[in-house]
Symmetry: C2
Subunit: 499 residues, 2 copies
């Protein structure tokens, strides 16, 4: 049997078990009864171990080596060898015992973090954090890097990205965002958020979320919408890409934009051909590109005026009280921008400052320039510098995110990159589809979806994110698309001259 056929057979085995694994995880967050969780963790552990064995097996290593120089492979097959090969090398890079000890450390650190946040007690979390950071610094050495150890960790989430590149991307954000936020506060007229605040029955919110997903042509024959505490999207298999969502009774936007966000992820993975699932390319080009698919639907679409013009009758049908406001008022109500303590509640304008703060701190931790004990002070200083506000407690400061407790270092930049990619994709879309907003305002989502399908979704992880963005937009990643978008949109909403 030729190597590529063997390789595909090996991937099929991984794909089948990964699909079972994905369903077990999905069910654990959606439908599992409380008393079933204990047994479930053992089932998931067993399937994970088998997938780990298959993704690090010597047979796979030999096939990857042989295929690396096979000139007869298709483009997708070459990408598969690249992606599966990266995962293989990274998983082999860490000694098995050390990785297992790290997993245990993270599990304890996560529990300690939850208690420490509850008590707003950073010192209780610190010894755990120090251990996790030590592991991550060692792992960066195992993985290897050219310029900066943080690059070794970024590679998991944004292949090809380096801290130096991130610096180049972040500098314009530093230069323009904070001053713009100052102008919004000093010169702007903030929009009134109250039309989307009140008392909104959850079953009706669920129906509205479903209608929003139908608007964006999320395919329910190939998906599902379920309630969870922390929303996520999961590709269980080709033809089975499910979204989840959460709702708050007093804020309609929470569940609606949550649904659009997850729906954006859903469109990405529903838009990939079966061949990409077969070749393990269905996770997408990078965490940042995946996030961009969610953000462009949540923000550029969902917090945009054309959407509110089109979706207005549906929204009023589900919540007749909204008829007291015009589509423009509802659009404005979704776009209040002001400095706040908590990242996940931040608006489009301030969100990236939260991410930059984290990126600076975690890259410093990994380099050894920052000690974990210094984090609370450095966090608060950066909040003051970027947003002009200072947390009153570590719970609303350095302890707010779970990521650092379970070893997700290098992930935060994906959120920022997602917003930058989204703005750049959106501008490219507007350039090639000039009547995009007019179509959207009549409820026709097809032109937007066609652009996303053609330029992003159908490619899965065939291209590295840098290649993808250049191919889709004609230029490398550039923060100015995002900054222009933010300044233009929010200057209008806040009724200011743009400058």
């Amino acid at each position: 049997m030729p190597a590529i056929a063997n390789y595909r057979k090996h991937l099929e085995e991984i794909a089948l078990l990964s699909s079972a694994h994905a369903l077990l995880e999905w069910d654990q967050e959606t439908h599992i009864p409380d008393k079933g969780i204990q047994a479930r963790s053992r089932v998931i552990g067993r399937i994970s171990r088998r997938v780990f064995e298959l993704t690090t097996s010597p047979d796979l290593g030999n096939l990857l080596e042989e295929l690396r120089t096979d000139g007869a492979l298709s483009q997708a097959e070459r990408a598969s060898v690249r992606e599966v090969g990266r995962q293989y090398r990274r998983r082999k890079a860490i000694p098995a015992d050390e990785f297992e000890a790290f997993t245990t450390t993270c599990s304890q650190a996560q529990a300690a973090w939850a208690k420490a946040r509850e008590a707003s007690d950073f010192q209780a979390f610190l010894p755990h954090l120090e251990k996790v950071v030590d592991y991550q610094r060692r792992f960066a050495d195992y993985y290897g890097y050219t310029e900066h150890p943080y690059d070794a960790l970024l590679e998991d989430y944004e292949p090809g990205m380096t801290l130096a590149q991130l610096e180049g991307i972040m500098q314009p954000l530093r230069d323009r965002l904070a001053p713009f936020i100052g102008r919004l506060a000093d010169e702007g007229t903030p929009p009134d958020p109250s039309p989307l605040q009140g008392d909104f029955r959850l079953d009706k919110q669920r129906a509205l979320a479903r209608a929003a997903l139908e608007f964006i042509q999320y395919d329910f024959e190939c998906g599902a919408l379920d309630d969870v505490e922390h929303p996520f999207t999961i590709a269980i298999a080709y033809g089975d890409v499910r979204v989840t969502n959460a709702y708050k009774q007093d804020r309609l936007g929470y569940g609606l934009f949550g649904a659009l966000h997850e729906g954006g992820h859903g469109l990405y993975h529903q838009g990939m051909p079966e061949e990409l699932f077969t070749l393990r390319l269905e996770e997408g080009s990078s965490a940042g590109i995946d996030e961009a698919q969610a953000l462009i639907i949540e923000n550029q679409l969902g917090r945009g005026l054309p959407f509110w013009k089109a979706f207005y009758p549906t929204a009023v049908q589900h919540f007749p009280e909204l008829a007291a406001h015009s589509p423009e008022e509802l659009y404005r109500a979704t776009n209040l921008a002001e400095p706040s303590m908590i990242r996940i509640e931040a608006d489009e304008v301030t969100y990236n400052l939260h991410i930059m703060l984290r990126t600076e701190l975690e890259s410093g931790l990994i380099a050894g320039d920052i000690r974990p004990a210094e984090l609370p002070r450095l966090w608060n200083e950066a909040m003051e510098r970027y947003l002009g506000i200072v947390p009153q407690s570590d719970a609303e400061g350095v302890l707010q995110d779970v990521h650092w407790s379970f070893g997700y270092y290098g992930y935060f930049p994906s959120y920022m990159l997602g917003s930058l990619y989204a703005a750049q994709f959106h501008q490219a879309m507007l350039d090639t589809v000039p009547d995009l907003d007019a179509s959207l305002a009549t409820g026709d989502f097809a032109p937007m979806l066609d652009w996303l399908r053609g330029n992003v979704h159908q490619h899965g992880a065939v291209y590295l994110p840098g290649e993808l963005v250049e191919q889709a937009t004609g230029s490398t990643l550039d923060s100015s698309y995002f900054l222009d978008y933010i300044e233009e949109k929010f200057s209008a909403i806040y009724r200011m001259d743009r400058n």
Copy 2:
């Protein structure tokens, strides 16, 4: 490592994969989107194959052989060796190629059956049926038997049961049921079923089904209730035993009794200790014992007057229109008994005649005394003899059930045995808990549940069904409990002297 520890480790591997398999199956019937079904079948096939390998591995064979004579085993461990050993021997008995060909044949036969039933065309199904019957006859020889080849197939569903024993059980049913049905028709005053017919909103029916499950103390922290087309109960793991249900808008009883039936299965598997799951004894003593747990809740409880007295306020709360009737009228409305063509719509009195007919025909097929081509004629003759009615088409006759198309021969008797066990358990319960009905009438289900837990549920498959029934009721299986129950209950409902 001692053999028992090795054995338990081997079982754990089977249990973990079987749990994943169960969730994949559950999801396939409840939540999977249409386009995900194709990929799912491959995932299920892969996990099934691995479970099959593990349950037939030479290592397991050696362990079973060694443990068969190990005097230090606990009672549950001995039962495990017996049950896992039976499955091992039966799976090894069929040559792998032949079993695979049989699976393909069944898959085609099932598709052919569905079309044939649609068209009421037995001849189109006949060639498939002949093949399936041939396989089953060969399999009976492979499995081996002492008296009758049908015994070899019964063993899968009702270990220890033989056709000769079934004959002894069925004869009193033949002698007493048909005459009693005649008396009901000639001398009885049928109850009015109309109170439970009408237009019942499905979301309210779901809520009522949930309330019924709460009445019987089905544990939702250890389970779930979901919609499906064909209801079933599934033990995904210890702490995770889910029921499913279906509803009809025009008949309240359909969904309510369906929920109680599945809830009865659910109580059985929720009532087994974790050790039994560990030892693969959680499937229960037999299909008949499992069915009895469902039927005693559906019929002895749910179609009984004490339940309707207690459940009346809940039923009225969900469907205020029911307040137009007394609890007694609702109780009577659930107990119309009359000959009908379709087994799954038959009442408590006539149901077993449908089963006896099938048992006679399928045992004749397996013995070679009946040729498949003769079935339509023999079916209609038996319907005339037992129920006094004759199907107008094969669709409402010999083609109505799916079982024979996918090789479930020897399963039908479980339905009948379930009703006989249920009546016998119920009488034993009444004998030891004299105020049982008084408790139920006040909404206190605990005495009934305690009896079931103590005498049946907690034992799982530790005892063979024959042992279990004798231990729980003090006598071997005896049809007269069922017949007495039916005659007493329905004589009263039909306002006749008992004879």
